[in-house]
Subunit: 213 residues, 2 copies
DNA sequence: CCTTTTGTGTTGCTATAGCAACCTTTTTTA
DNA sequence: TAAAAAAGGTTGCTATAGCAACACAAAAGG
């Protein structure tokens, strides 16, 4: 359970406080094999999930049935927090285990209403966490609004530059995921990246990018 | 102050509880004339704003300097909640008064740490409110990801249909805002809407739409 | 009431990006 | 280590949507 002390949800809490909360609030742990579905698109859930071990992805399906990866989860990732917060909404994504996963589910309503003093801090952490997610989402919306592939790429790379505080950085998306994130065809992305490299605006190798302007 | 009892932030609280919170938490009221800026894009703010009277809009500017309306606010609208929650982020939007506005600002940190018993309920309301905004944002992202103007329109109208529980409904966006929301040219939107009407898929007049399929 | 502004629809031109198909390189795994 | 699979790059064709420009109707404002 040591991993929980580093979880964003419990930031600022010590072991005893976390234990206190777990004693008060209903929770359960479950394991999943690779490929198994943890949350299905359309499910209504009432728990916050914490990935204790393993890797998972959030997918969704377009109206045409094409599959899109919308998020990648590593140990200590939190999911279902936004969903549980918006009572009555159903999950827009399917969460699927990639490797053997161990997931801790914490009942959301009980967490909200628990009167352990530390829950107050947890609520703040939830708010902070959701807000951060909201801003990432927002940034993506801004990028998706741009009309040309090039402007999308530039906007994305600028963003990453500002996050990494450097003209040179690695991104954690491969070309397919990057194309999905920008809302363009993978081939169109490759084409434009090559063009930009040829023009000397950027340089890149695999997922390592450098801005040259 | 009667209007606050109907505010989503104070849902489930009675007058005395709201008063209690306001007594504990620093807040202030300010008026704005039409056209005046309430929050500037890039500002870092530490308060939740509640529009007590008047109308305002949230705008943002594209890299090319084009102005886009991203939200419309009526009395009792809440703004700055997500922003205050994500400590260290700066406002992605400019909030501007359209008519004479009266705004109540409530200090966010104090609201979080206040120990009036009712604040706990307020935190839950904040979470619910942010979560809802997140889902709207999410829906928009889904729509922006679609490639053709027609599929965007259909996806948007389906969504509105499900919200209104009817094949016939009014939307609260004019063509310009609708085009912005869908991330397409206004002319392209008009063209496609006309085409769809001609094909008998939909009918519309102004902002009143009917799905015919 | 007349004028101005705003909202909406229409259309021709054209660049761009989607699509499909194929190739090359790298990584995985049997 | 050979074979298979995954990731990335390239390219031709073509429909589509962006852009610009204009027309018309409705609403707002003085």
């Amino acid at each position: 359970m040591k991993i929980l002390t580093e979880n964003l949800l419990f930031q600022g809490l010590d072991n005893t406080e976390i234990q206190q909360i777990l004693n008060t609030v209903r929770h359960n742990e479950r394991s999943y094999s690779p490929g198994e579905t943890i949350v299905r698109q359309g499910d209504i859930i009432d728990s916050i999930g914490i990935l204790l071990a393993g890797n998972a992805v959030g997918k969704k399906y377009t109206p045409e049935g094409e599959e899109i990866i919308v998020s990648q989860m590593a140990p200590n990732s939190i999911f279902g927090d936004v969903l549980s917060g918006a009572i009555g909404f159903s999950s827009p994504v399917t969460v699927q285990a990639l490797k053997n996963c161990r997931v801790l589910f914490i009942n959301y309503q009980q967490l909200l209403f628990a009167d352990a003093p530390a829950t107050h801090k947890v609520l703040q952490n939830i708010i902070q966490n959701i807000s951060r997610k909201y801003f990432t989402q927002n940034k993506r919306t801004d990028i998706l609004m741009l009309k040309s592939v090039r402007s999308k790429i530039l906007s994305y790379l600028e963003w990453q530059k500002s996050i990494n505080n450097s003209n040179s950085f690695s991104i954690n998306l491969d070309r397919r995921l990057m194309a999905d994130f920008l809302g363009v065809e993978r081939s169109a992305l490759s084409r434009e990246l090559s063009r930009m490299k040829k023009e000397g605006i950027i340089d890149f190798h695999k997922n390592k990018f450098t801005l040259l302007y």
